[in-house]
């Protein structure tokens, strides 16, 4: 038990330690090896997660509660908790952070120490958010995540990045107001915001004013998390912020932040209020709207990163749709899609970074024919696109299949059909992207473009390999799920 506890504590302590190391030693030295430090943190997160998965599975535990600093204070409450869902989220955080570091090595030239500090606070925020046991602490870490993201976006102080940042801040503040008001009303009726207390006390109080305040608080919390997740019609900030940030930061934002800040909160909410029909309906409605509108908007974009950002909106819709079922299978499907989305979305952003590094532009109209000049980038983007569109045997196919199965078994065949048909849009906008960027004639100013080298190329290859490999091995996961009686 002790080892597991130490492994679990690394999720918060290692980034802290990294911040200390980063600021104690001389700035010159840290700028030279910033990628080593951050890469080590990301890797330690990945390995700690894998270890926790392994040892929890070996001991047959489905949740592990622990409490940091227990030597200092006596307490009967455990503050943190690891569950399988949490662990998958933590794994995604580790992977995406690692990808971001590998890209940052190439793309970030100045303010490296600040990047490291903010990345670490972002990781602390996300790790804390998924591990805490209390709704208010979740809000606190949500704001940690939000604040780190604001500063990360605005870090280089170009016109665009400041603009994206300020839009994100203001809309996030709106979300914060919503969430906090909702929490206040929730707290008003329960006297505690601990998940366990919420679970046990809410079912008893059901007199008239209480339920009105309760549904009000649910509406507000749900809307707040929708804003954070970038679901249509709360999505408008997302493409602006993701487009304007440096690519290594866009990877973090699109790959993991919207999922932790938005989807995980909604997951907690659906978990606590699994009996409320209206939440499920709202999730399904917003999910379908996001899928369709996001895809339509992605189809009209001319900026590479903006298109990928809208694709994120569309994919968030799928996850919301999976959560709307309220079944265990739905949660599994959502988590699987979070994982596969983290993989393919980071691949696409890495491609964006490669193209930006080599060709110097991200406007799709100015590109063309990069297929022969950047074969690795082209190939990895094709794999990521196929995974997004749900072509077997890649990861995206399986997670989409699980979502559709979950919808079907929950008795929503119409939604399943719509989700299936919307895949056509996904293929459409990615085909358009492929055609504009990689096929066709090479314009003259791109004649001397070469394949990207170094860390970006390596990470492209690694991500492509993982996407394919996990896709091929996914039937094992299905067998595992079946043995647990989920399928």
């Amino acid at each position: 038990m002790n080892v597991l506890k130490y492994a679990a504590e690394t999720f918060l302590f290692v980034p802290f330690a990294a911040i200390v190391i980063n600021n104690v030693f001389s700035k010159k030295m840290m700028e030279k090896c910033f990628h080593l430090l951050t890469g080590a943190v990301a890797l330690s997160q990945i390995f700690a997660t894998l270890f926790c998965i392994y040892s929890m599975d070996a001991r047959g535990m489905s949740r592990f509660e622990f409490f940091m600093l227990e030597e200092l204070y006596e307490n009967d409450r455990e503050f943190f908790c690891l569950t399988p869902v949490t662990l998958i989220f933590l794994l995604c955080i580790g992977i995406v952070a690692f990808v971001s570091v590998m890209v940052a090595k190439k793309t970030i030239d100045a303010k490296k120490t600040s990047y490291v500090n903010l990345l670490m606070t972002l990781i602390i925020g996300m790790n804390g958010m998924v591990m805490v046991n209390d709704f208010f602490s979740l809000y606190v870490f949500l704001d940690v995540v939000g604040l780190s993201s604001f500063v990360l976006i605005a870090m280089f102080r170009s016109r665009k990045s400041l603009e994206g940042s300020i839009k994100y801040i203001i809309i996030s503040e709106l979300a914060t107001i919503f969430i906090l008001t909702g929490l206040a009303f929730l707290f008003m009726q329960t006297g505690s915001l601990d998940y366990m207390d919420l679970n046990s006390s809410l079912l008893q109080n059901s007199s008239e004013p209480q339920t009105m305040l309760l549904s009000l608080s649910l509406i507000l919390i749900l809307s707040g998390f929708f804003v954070k997740a970038g679901a249509v019609p709360f999505h408008s900030w997302l493409p602006d912020a993701h487009q304007s940030a440096d690519t290594s930061i866009s990877i973090l934002l699109s790959g993991i932040v919207i999922k932790i800040a938005g989807i995980y909160g909604i997951y907690v909410l659906t978990d606590l209020f699994s009996g409320v029909k209206a939440i499920q309906t709202a999730l399904a409605a917003i999910g379908i709207l996001s899928i369709v509108a996001g895809a339509l908007l992605a189809l009209c974009q001319s900026h590479f990163k903006r298109m990928i950002a809208y694709s994120s909106v569309s994919q968030m819709g799928y996850i919301l749709l999976a959560l709307s079922t309220g079944t265990t299978l739905g949660v599994v499907a959502a988590v699987a899609h979070v994982f596969s989305h983290a993989l393919f979305k980071s691949t696409l952003f890495v491609n964006a970074a490669a193209i930006h590094e080599q060709a110097g532009t991200l406007e799709m109209d100015e590109m063309g024919g990069l297929e022969h000049r950047m074969p690795v980038t082209s190939f990895s983007s094709v794999i990521a696109f196929l995974s997004t569109a749900g072509i077997p045997p890649l990861t995206g196919f399986w997670s989409k299949l699980l979502i559709i199965l979950a919808l079907w078994t929950a008795g929503n065949p119409v939604l399943a059909g719509v989700a299936l048909c919307a895949s056509i849009f996904t293929s459409a906008y990615f085909l358009r992207m492929q055609k504009k960027v990689f096929f066709g004639k090479t314009p003259e100013h791109l004649a001397s473009v070469r394949e990207v080298s170094g860390s970006i190329k390596i990470i492209e290859i690694i991500l492509t390999a993982i996407t394919t490999l996990i896709g091929i091995l996914f039937p094992l996961v299905l067998i595992f799920l079946q043995s647990r009686g989920i399928l």
């Binding site: 303010k111 804390g128 500063v151």
Partner: protein, 164 residues
Amino acid sequence: MNTILSISLACLLVFCILSIMSHSLLKSAIFLALASAMLGVLMYMMGAVWAAVIEVSACSGLVTVIFISAISLSNIKKDDIHKQYEDKKRMRWFPITMIVGGILLIVIALAKDFTLTSALQQTTDHFKEVFWNTRQVDIMGQIVTILIGGIAVFVLFREEQENK
């Protein structure tokens, strides 16, 4: 007690509205600080002593200082601001909105027969234990938040090297 509460509540609302309505940014910030102070009084009256202290010192003090320094950085003439931002025109519907919203809320409260009452037993003397023992996670979050604040000052306010 109810009288003081009601008066300070009314003051809070009035100060908030004034801070939004006033066309000078400086006045806005000052009204906001006053509203904050009123909220502190309100909290004190309700028994939340610690929160009241923090509210008055942090919100009323620190935030106002931040605002005023930001306002002083952008010293534009008052008339220009009026012309440029069309505040009068834009805020034309604000009082009406407030009145309509207030009436609507009162009507809802009447229609739903909505009423709230305080719990009879109030526990207000264990704040330290509660704050330091059961909210350690929040404190950790606060520390990180303050850290981010420091980094933000470092990143966003510092002049860039190239500019010099």
